[in-house]
Symmetry: C2
Subunit: 420 residues, 2 copies
């Protein structure tokens, strides 16, 4: 399969972009090559697509389900009673809804932390996006749950991956307040043995940090480090409340951070120290949406704008969270965190990209396309999404979207009637 | 002219909505009436449209023109040298670009503070939106400029309004640090004589408040009050840095506030005390985008999400900035601030509304349409916009949009070549 994109704006120059198999093979003007598919790029710009490094994708089916409540009331009364009743089939439907939303808003990869990961993997396989999928490890310090998690994880390892190139299985541990030392150790050994990436929620709230000190006499970051969980293949989600010692550890271990600015604001968890951390580890800061029930969308365009504005507020400077830095964080950094040679429009890189409409009002005028994408664009600007060398959205349309929406609506009706 | 919207979701019920002339005349299911135009509302919801109470619309042509710089460097080096060279014809083109963007994102009214207001009025007249348009009063304490402002204002009064119902001329004073007492007094007398609304930037930055105390021994709010400028027809933009005494004055005078959360974050001006102020004066808090060069769009959907999230951060509570409150602020409150019987889908009210697509992924599932609009929606959700009883966007299309974009692109090329 090959795609030739003709006359598209790339770094302020009009050029052609040739994609062979799943890579950008050549970028040059007026190319004369045979291609299976020709895309007219005139009045469009080609840009890196988004890599969403923290998500609970299937929670999209709970979008707007009882929000604006205190966190634990909301979890106890609304979210957890429903999640307990969701079936594998429900997760299959909900994952497709989430992936549709991500594609529509320019995302080509997501790191997922939820349950029934096999269903999410199948949805990813069918819809052409990339992902790193985990089944979350969480035992609430209960030995029976720990044993069950070992069985679930063994099954997940055995589950045959329908498209190994695009999908990586990975491991995720929920957090220091929900995972026993034994489960952490089991997860670490499994991740090492399988060569998997690891995702962990860390220092999301001040409460989490205070409780960890009270229980273990150290911060969540130090606790994870004491268990050997921090490596260059570890992605730490949130990381809002970090001490200088924590930052030293994270830097030394070469971990990646996934900041989730909207979720952190919506749940009033605090603001990530973007400017400080970006100066210390400019390649290792990445961006996530978190699940739709604490955002309430998976739209990385919302998240890049909020990431910039929160960075300005947190650093008390209008110069914080510069558009160019944020766009890098949302694209190439996220790709690199999961070992992908992607996130750039460059010969040899994986062919993931967006084509955006330069006639769209939010991108007009176009003095600076990155500034426009960060501060002005919304999903209406995105015409086409290419992932792994295949058009997964063309002229705003994603294959099967009508059916995905209808199935999600039916599932939502079922959820409305569930006991809480 | 009459419009019948069939089978549309309104307050969780499917109904018909009949619009005669510029008002909602009847809301009831299965209506049998003759209408000039029938709109199929199935799979759509009808919602109040947005009233943007603070804007510098024509600045859209400077979107992304040298941002991420310190405020005064940006103004001095980028914005002001260009603004000085803009002609009336340029403002006509730029105003149309801004109005197109507003309609596309569901706005039916904007309060404007810029120059060459006559051109903006003509653009509003042509494009079917509502507005309160002013030519900004600002003399920088220079007597010659003051005299010129008097002439400009007299001309603006004389300028014949091409559609009096939808457009209100109004007066705006820039701020206490740019307007002399004489000009303030002239503005007050003019506004009183003409029966016009008044817009003033107030207490946007801490610096403004400190400087005002140093110069006048009182806060900007107290200063404006001492000049008699605070009335129920005064809309105070920003109002970020208010003392308890300021709040007392504003409440006593019955002023409206236009909060501009994105601009305040982008320029690092601070965060409006939304929760506190909304409790004190729940009818008088309204929402604005500010100009596109400090946002960088005029999309009220971005602003409602940021308004809520900033309210949560500022009040240190996940319960701050509730979706229902924010939607009210962005709709009915904005309409009332400018004396419009609008902002609700209600018989007898002005027929302004949105039809949103319930098959759009960002609105799926639909447990709570207002939560979805505030936290999840983007402009791709909006199918149709009705203002003053006329369809100004139908199936996502606005009349003349191609020409507006092309003219804006040409003007942007001219601006790129202007001397700075």
């Amino acid at each position: 399969m090959s795609i030739l994109i003709k006359n598209v704006l790339h770094n302020n120059q009009t050029t052609d972009v040739f994609i062979e198999d799943n890579k950008f093979s050549r970028i040059a003007p007026n190319m004369k090559v045979e291609a299976d598919k020709i895309v007219d790029g005139s009045n469009k710009a080609i840009l890196p697509a988004f890599y969403n490094t923290h998500n609970h994708a299937a929670m999209s089916i709970l979008r707007g389900f009882g929000d604006d409540k205190p966190l634990f009331e909301w979890l106890n009364e609304d979210i957890w009673p429903i999640e307990d009743q969701l079936t594998e089939e429900d997760i299959a439907i909900a994952s497709r809804l989430a992936i549709l939303e991500m594609i529509k808003s320019g995302t080509v990869f997501f790191a997922d932390m939820y349950f029934f990961g096999e269903q999410t993997i199948q949805a990813v396989a069918d819809m052409g996006i990339r992902a790193a999928i985990s089944r979350v490890e969480m035992d609430l310090f209960d030995e029976q749950k720990f044993e069950q998690k070992k069985i679930d994880t063994a099954n997940f390892i055995e589950f045959s991956n329908p498209c190994p190139q695009r999908i990586r299985k990975c491991l995720s541990c929920h957090a220091v307040y929900t995972v026993s030392d034994e489960l952490f150790k089991f997860a670490k050994e499994t991740a090492e043995k399988q060569g998997w990436f690891m995702q962990i929620h860390v220092s999301e709230t001040k409460q989490e940090v205070d409780d960890c000190f009270a229980k273990w006499g150290m911060s969540p970051v130090a606790k994870l480090d004491s268990l050997g969980l921090l490596t260059p293949k570890t992605i730490l989600a949130h990381a809002v409340h970090l001490s200088d010692e924590d930052i030293e550890i994270i830097k030394k271990r070469g971990c990646y951070i996934s900041t989730n600015p909207i979720s952190n604001l919506k749940l009033n968890s605090g603001m990530f120290m973007f400017e400080k951390m970006y100066k210390i580890m400019p390649e290792n800061i990445t961006l996530g949406t978190d699940g739709a029930s604490s955002n309430n969308n998976l739209n990385m365009l919302d998240s890049i704008k909020f990431c910039s504005l929160a960075a300005k507020a947190e650093s008390n400077s209008a110069l914080g969270g510069k558009a160019d830095d944020i766009y890098k964080v949302a694209t190439i950094n996220g790709a690199k965190a999961f070992g992908l040679n992607a996130g750039e429009i460059k010969e040899g890189c994986l062919a993931d990209c967006l084509l955006v409409d330069l006639d769209n009002v939010f991108l007009t005028p176009n003095y600076n396309i990155i500034s426009n994408m960060v501060y002005s664009a919304d999903s209406s600007c995105i015409c086409d999404v290419i992932c792994d060398g295949r058009l997964i959205m063309e002229n705003g349309k994603v294959a099967g979207e009508k059916e995905i929406i209808n199935n999600a609506k039916k599932l939502a009706e079922k959820i409305k009637n569930m006991k809480k």
